[in-house]
């Protein structure tokens, strides 16, 4: 019994002195928190790079991690609505509940696209706040990173200056990288594409790519053969240059479309860890731009 108490005590005291424990719902925010937090944060990422962020289970391990977290970094815009509320409610951790400083959402810091004017499940998997896949536009990381650095500083005032410095350092390198990607991606401007799931409106908005169709008849609704046929029939008029899917999408619909419409199928990493090259945030966009350019040649 004594030993148990000692163990528990050491666990508690450990928790009290450790770095800020950050629980990121998706890999991109985990990567951003690591960059800004540097050596003062201990980042746990709830999902993998090849995982569909819409369908995540409120696994026991996630509840345990949320219980010990100092901060939750989520996308928001209802992306995590299917699992995060359960995890947070079961965590017994008052510091990371929505509304607390320990709960951070990325979506409120950027301009949302595809905000529905009508909310009805008849329209499929729609999100009231707009399309939640904001991480596919690198410009968004500047605004989110700035807000995240401020919030980290609020939670850990002693290292606030360091978080700001880390962010400024990142922002400088990031802006240069954006300029490089934009220059490289110039041939993509105005290109017509077909997408499997509406996962990339922010990427298209950034690079000036035009989405002329989706393989999913409605967001989150699996493509049917008859609907795919309709999309293929539109190829003549809409002239897509490629068909794009996220790494976690099933490959079959894009392969089928690629074969029938005679356009290359492109798999984009979507997030950090979504491909072998997407090891970090820079790698994510290096690979995204490279994959797109490869298809347009």
């Amino acid at each position: 019994m004594k030993r148990l108490f000692l163990l528990l005590f050491s666990l508690f005291s450990l928790a009290a002195h450790a770095d800020l424990k950050v629980f990121a719902t998706v890999p991109e925010w985990g990567a951003l928190a690591s960059v800004i937090g540097g050596k003062h944060v201990d980042v746990f990422t709830a999902t993998g790079g090849l995982q569909d962020p819409h369908h995540v289970e409120a696994k026991p391990s996630l509840i345990a991690r949320a219980r010990n977290a100092d901060m939750i970094v989520a996308t928001g815009a209802e992306l995590e609505v299917g699992w995060l509320p359960v995890v947070l409610r079961n965590s017994g951790n008052p510091h990371v509940q929505p509304g607390q400083p320990g709960y951070f959402e990325a979506a409120p810091h950027v301009r949302m696209l595809e905000v529905p004017t009508r909310l009805d499940r008849a329209d499929g998997d729609v999100h009231a706040g707009g399309n939640p896949h904001i991480q596919t536009d690198p410009r968004n990381y500047l605004k989110i990173g700035e807000a995240l650095a401020t919030r980290l500083g609020q939670l850990d005032a002693a290292n606030a200056n360091e978080y700001q410095a880390n962010f400024r350092n990142f922002a400088e390198r990031w802006k240069m990288a954006i300029a490089k990607w934009e220059a490289a991606a110039a041939p993509l401007r105005g290109a017509h594409v077909v997408t499997q799931h509406k996962a990339f409106p922010y990427l298209y908005d950034w690079l000036g790519i035009v989405e002329v169709g989706t393989l999913e008849p409605k967001p989150g609704v699996e493509p049917s053969v008859s609907y795919l046929g309709e999309v293929v029939a539109d190829v003549e008029t809409k002239k897509p240059r490629m068909v794009i899917r996220a790494a976690w999408n099933s490959s079959r619909p894009t392969e089928w479309f690629s074969e029938h419409a005679h356009v290359p199928a492109v798999t984009l990493p979507f997030t950090v860890g979504g491909s072998d090259q997407a090891k970090d945030l820079f790698g994510l966009f290096d690979d995204t731009v490279a994959q797109l350019l490869k298809a347009i040649k």
Binding site: L11, E57, P60, G129, W248
Partner: protein, 480 residues
């Protein structure tokens, strides 16, 4: 106006005089001198006034400049805001008084059942009837319970949930109505009201989230389907990276194995512990152990005596139920949408010790004959559900209950015969179930289920269920 003209004249004179210094210096007349002094004073006064005027003018000019500058800055700001607005999400909707309405959702369920045996005669022979809703349902088309859920955060510290079950035959049952803390800190949480107990794995799940149409036999026999007492629960989550959770509940013993005792204090209580973690990104598991203790007073049920007379039997004493549960879920790379697999099993062991009375020979025993009663019975189930392609799942389940030992004092003493307790006749119920379900979206499910059930002695049942489950309203989050 008048003084001004006089002043102008004076100034003019003054200037004229000062303009002719030779003349003024040459003057010696005392009157002239006095005049000159007066003019000099006036000149000084006017110079001061002019100074003041000039100062005011320059001040006014500066102010104007500042205003212009400020206006320019404001314009800049406005432009910046405009740019920002263009870059910001659309303005928030006007606040509405119903913005704080709680989350509302509803589950619609119904079935078509084809049952070989009469469902009204359903029994799990050998196990004390729970008086719960454990039968296989109605023959033919039937509406299931429609479940209305209303929940919301009450304030920063508390959340409230009410789940009303609208019965197809009319009437409303309050299935759940509880408050829960949103984190007292240090991993503690508290729940109070009427809620599904945290024992076992399936007990906390609502029927619409089950993988089969009905509950496992062990749940039916030992918990009357599901344990939902009135009481309080406290849970503590250990500060570990692995899930380690302890919980305890105190309740009234509203339903089986309790008997809704008319007494103060705690008549039913549980303790449980859960341990869970990931093996890798594709595999997750949780195991648990639970203990339920109850002390029912006069837990009565109806039976038929050996002479065919309707009798009432009643148990007084202590009931103790142990549950061990385990669940393993596999989803490749954590993606459950295309394929996934779920293996789940629970083992139950119950000991009851007390007295059993029967009114079958009421005349002899002055009301009811009473003697000792003890039993030790167990049961388990194991089920696997595999999603072999998007939207389609296939599942198998095996149920088994073990009669174990049952000592009825009234029988052992020779006062009554075993045939006077036909519901407690020695029998080991078994059931095998297969199901196939199709979920076109997250909110719809159609299920076909077939079961070969010998819960009742000598009355093997073949059951076919065709079920629908629709959920509408707020997107509820699912527990593991």
């Amino acid at each position: 106006m008048k003084p001004f003209r006089k002043n102008v004249l004076a100034v003019a004179v003054g200037f004229a005089l000062s303009g002719f210094p030779a003349l003024s210096s040459a003057a010696t007349d005392p009157d002239l001198k006095a005049l000159r002094e007066e003019i000099a004073q006036m000149k000084q006064a006017y110079e001061q006034r002019i100074d003041a005027l000039e100062k005011r003018l320059s001040q006014a000019e500066t102010a104007t400049n500042e205003k212009t500058a400020r206006a320019e800055a404001k314009a800049d700001q406005a432009q910046a805001v405009a740019q920002q607005l263009a870059a910001q999400p659309p303005a928030a909707q006007p606040t509405q008084s119903n913005a704080f309405n709680p989350e509302i959702s509803m589950i619609l369920q119904g079935a078509y059942n084809n049952l070989k045996q009469d469902p009204n005669a359903y029994q799990i022979t050998g196990f004390v009837p729970t008086l719960g809703d454990v039968g296989p349902g109605t023959r033919g088309f039937s509406l299931g319970e429609s479940e209305l859920t209303i929940s919301a955060n009450i304030d920063p510290d508390w959340r409230g949930t009410a789940i009303a079950s609208l019965k197809p035959e009319g009437g409303v049952a309050m299935e759940n109505a509880f408050f829960q803390s949103l984190g007292l800190g240090n991993g503690l949480s508290v729940k109070g009201g009427r809620f599904f107990s945290g024992i076992g794995y399936m007990n906390e799940q609502h029927a619409h989230a089950w993988d089969f149409t009905d509950a496992p036999l062990a749940y039916k026999a030992f918990l009357g389907g599901q344990l939902g007492d009135d009481g309080v629960q406290i849970k503590w989550l250990a500060p570990t990276n692995m899930l380690l959770e302890f919980g305890a509940e105190a309740g009234r013993g509203r339903a089986f194995p309790g008997a809704n005792d008319n007494k103060n204090g705690v008549s039913q209580g549980t303790v449980f512990a859960h341990l869970g973690d990931d093996i890798d990104v594709s595999n997750a598991w949780r195991i648990g152990v639970s203990l339920l203790r109850s002390s029912p007073d006069n837990r009565a049920y109806n039976d038929v005596s050996s002479t065919g007379a309707a009798v009432s039997d009643s148990f007084n004493g202590k009931s103790r139920l142990w549950i061990a549960d385990g669940i393993w879920k596999w989803a490749p790379e954590g993606n459950s949408t295309v394929t996934n697999f779920k293996l789940q099993g629970e083992y139950f062991q119950r000991k009851e010790d007390g007295t059993l009375s029967s009114n079958s020979l009421a005349g002899i025993c002055a009301g009811a004959c009473v003697n000792g009663y003890d039993s030790e019975q167990s049961g388990w189930y194991l089920q696997g559900v595999y999603q072999f392609m998007p939207h389609w799942r296939f599942g198998l389940r095996h149920d088994a209950l073990s009669y174990g030992t049952v000592n009825i004092g009234l029988v052992n003493s020779g006062f009554l015969n075993a045939a006077d307790f036909p519901l407690l006749a020695a029998h080991d119920p078994k059931r095998n179930t297969a199901m196939l379900d199709y979920s076109p979206s997250e909110f719809t499910r159609f299920r076909l289920q077939w079961a070969h059930d010998n819960s009742g002695i000598g009355a093997t049942d073949n059951q076919l269920f065709l079920q629908y489950i629709f959920s509408l309203g707020t997107h509820g989050a699912h527990s593991f």
